[in-house]
Each structure stands twice: as C-alpha cells, then as structure tokens.
Amino acid sequence: MNIHKQVLTTASLLMIFAIIGSGIVGLTYESTYEKIKRNEQLVLLRKLNTILSPSEYDNDLLADQIELDEDSLLGTHGPSKAYLAYRNNRPVAIVLSPVAPNGYSGPINMLVGIYHDGTIAGVRVVKHRETPGLGDAVESQRSDWILGFDNKSLENPTPKKWKVKRDGGEFDQFTGATITPRAVVKAVHSALLYFQEHRKELFKETQDGSGTVKNS
C-alpha cells in the first residue's frame, strides 16, 4: 500500500513538472509566434530587396509569391518559391529560388532575380556549406563576385561563354575553388533557361484575371 502511494506521488510530481514545463514553453511560443513570423518575412524581404530595389516595383513581393513544381532546370526536388514583382500592374521581374546541386559540399540555395526581358536583376546565395575562406566568396558579404551576374542574359555572354574562365567562359573562378563558382554559374544559366521556357505562364498566374491572386 505504502509503495503504491509512493509511486503515485512520484508520478504526479513528474506530471506536475511536465505540465508546468510545457505550459511555460507554450506560453512563450504563443507570445513570440507573431514576432518570429514577422522577423522571418523581414529577413526574406530584405534579401529580395538586395536583388530588386524597392523602387523598381510597387506590389507586395511576399504576397505575390507562387509555388513552382520541381524542375531539373531549377535543380529542385520539390516545390520551390518564386516572387513576382509588378509596377503599375505590369510585370517587372521574378525572383526564382533555384538550387545548384553540385557545390563542393552539397547543394547551394540561391535567389535569382530576372527582369521581364530576360536580363538578370541579381543573384544571391542564400544557403551553402562551401569551405569558409575559399568557396564562400559566393556570398555577397564576402566578395563582389556574385554581382558579376547583374545585367547578364542568355545572349550576353553567348551560351558558350556561360562558364567559369577555366572552362573557357567569362566568369572568374576563385583561387583554390573552381567547383563552387562553376556550380553557381551553371545554376544561374539553367534558371535563365527555365525562365525563357516558362515566362508566359509564370507571369500569367497572377496577372491575367484567373482570379487567383490580387489584381490591384
């Protein structure tokens, strides 16, 4: 009998602490949820704004986002996000989020902004695991290399030159790191190809009255 009582008190003690613990965590979660969500969107928007300056468009990029099916040109194995920029209801640009699958140590996630006419607005690396000090020069904080894509398009440079210099192309590689820039150049080029193939449908989805998204 005594043992039963002891087990019961011990168990209820454990339960009380479990309830208190989850209560505290739950409360904190509730009270920080909104703020965390806003933070994440702000970070994303800030990243998008380094590609497309806010003066170039007048819609809410985060509201006008669409989901693209997986595509080998985007290097994605699942749905990926794309953000549409409009100005006076005219399509200005789209920001795709392709993946370079063949980085030195795993995939490199990127954002590629492409103007409506097919020239590049800007490229940024969002997530990567390249070697610090070597491959990580693809980050815009570490070097200006990634800015070299600005204003490029499928015709400029010519398809043959869409490579790093070592492969006979136009883009610099880094000392001691060729694989990373090679992967990024290839992924940007594929993203342009994807854009060329899908331009009409990409912009249609929110533009022409299909009623899916706003038309303000």
């Binding site: 965590v25 965390i36 933070n39």
Partner: protein, 228 residues
C-alpha cells in the same frame, strides 16, 4: 558566508572552469567560437540557461524525490532552453540564424545538468543562482577569448557582425586590423578551435603551476571531479 560565495566565484571563473577544467560543453564551444560576437551570443544564452536552471532546481530541491530528479531536471532545462530559443528567435533573429542549431543544443551541454545535480540540488537559491552565473561567465569568457583569437588570426577583424546583437549603430565597432589581410583558414576551420582551446588550457595550467610553486606548496584544494 561571504567566503563561501567567493569560493563559488573563483570556482566558476577559474578553478573549476566549465570549458578549461571540466571540459564540458565542448561541442558548442568549438563550433561557435569562430567570431567574437558568435561566442558572446552563445555564451550569454548558456549563462542565462545556467542561472535559470540552477535557480529553479534549487527552489524545488526539497520536493523532488531522488528517484525522479534527473527527468525533472531535464524537463526544467529543456523548458528553459526552448524558452530562450524562442525569445532569441523573436528579438535577436539574425544572431539566432547564425547560432542556429547550437541554441537548442544548449540542452545537451553537460555542464548544465552537472551543475543542477552537483550544486543546485544541495544549495540555497541564491548560492545556486550565483554558481550558475559564475559557471556561465567562465564558459562565456572562454568562448569570447577563443572567438577573439580565431577571428583576429583567421579573418583579421574583430567584432564583425556586432550589429546583429547591439543594433545598427554597432556596425562601426568593426575593427579591421589590416586592410589586405590574406586570412588564415586554419583558425577559421574546426582544427583552429581545437588548437586554440588546447593553447588556452595549457596557459591556464601553466599559470596554476607557477602560482602553486611560488606559494611554497600550500596544498591547493583539488578541483571537483567532472560529473558528466
């Protein structure tokens, strides 16, 4: 009374330092000490966790039955760490993004449960909180020292990314030691962390040895053995 607390302070900062003597929590220590600010961020989060967990464990020490004390300690520590993680995500979002996985991993830092078990469960709330603070401070100081060393040697800068913690105004805190510093990769990569920590431990042992021999061999109280 005061002597007791002085001992807690000394133990935490030096004699029984979490990182240099107990060698606990090395995984986050080695992984996050790449820059000064990263070290400071993780150090503060760990310190906060230690103070909160030590204080709570001490408050409930008379009610907790010994056979379930470990699960209860773990529960408390996990709740505290999750709360801190959420709070950091909300108020220091970008720093949180950098420290990433190492914030939730504070929960696996052995020093926290070790202090709960070996100190907080036997001492008053004030002493326990002080012990948590000082142990955390000792850990933080090592993190920051290692972070400074690795940042200066590896990248030639100091206080990079300070704005993530202190707001935009702190961007000007960035010190660049030399404009065309080539960088020293070894210090940035994991081996640099091991070598740096090894050096710090060696320096500490050297200082301890010197002070012992200069004090004409007064028997030093040996450091507590690590708990886990």
């Amino acid at each position: 009374m005061a002597a007791e607390q002085l001992k807690i302070v000394k133990n935490g900062l030096w004699g029984n330092n979490v990182a240099l003597v107990q060698l606990l929590g090395l995984c986050p220590l080695l992984a996050v000490s790449g820059t000064f600010i990263n070290g400071l961020g993780l150090g503060l989060a760990t310190m906060l966790t230690l103070v909160a967990s030590n204080a709570s464990v001490s408050i409930i020490r008379h009610w907790v039955r010994p056979e379930v004390r470990i699960p209860i300690f773990v529960l408390i520590i996990a709740s505290i760490v999750t709360t801190i993680e959420l709070a950091m995500n909300a108020w220091f979002h970008e720093l949180f993004l950098i420290l990433g996985i190492f914030i939730p991993l504070i929960v696996t830092n052995c020093s926290i449960i070790a202090r709960a078990e070996s100190f907080a469960s036997k001492n008053t709330v004030f002493d326990s909180a002080l012990d948590g603070f000082m142990m955390g401070m000792g850990f933080l100081l090592v993190l920051v020292t290692l972070g400074t060393l690795r940042e200066v040697i590896g990248a030639g800068t100091l206080f990079a990314n300070a704005h993530l913690m202190f707001g935009e105004g702190a961007r000007s805190m960035l010190l660049t030691l030399s404009d065309d510093y080539p960088g020293f990769l070894l210090a940035v990569l994991p081996p640099g962390a091991f070598i740096g920590l090894g050096l710090l431990i060696a320096i500490k042992n050297h200082i301890d040895k010197r002070s012992v021999s200069s004090q004409a061999v007064i028997a030093e109280t040996p450091a507590e053995t690590p708990a886990g």
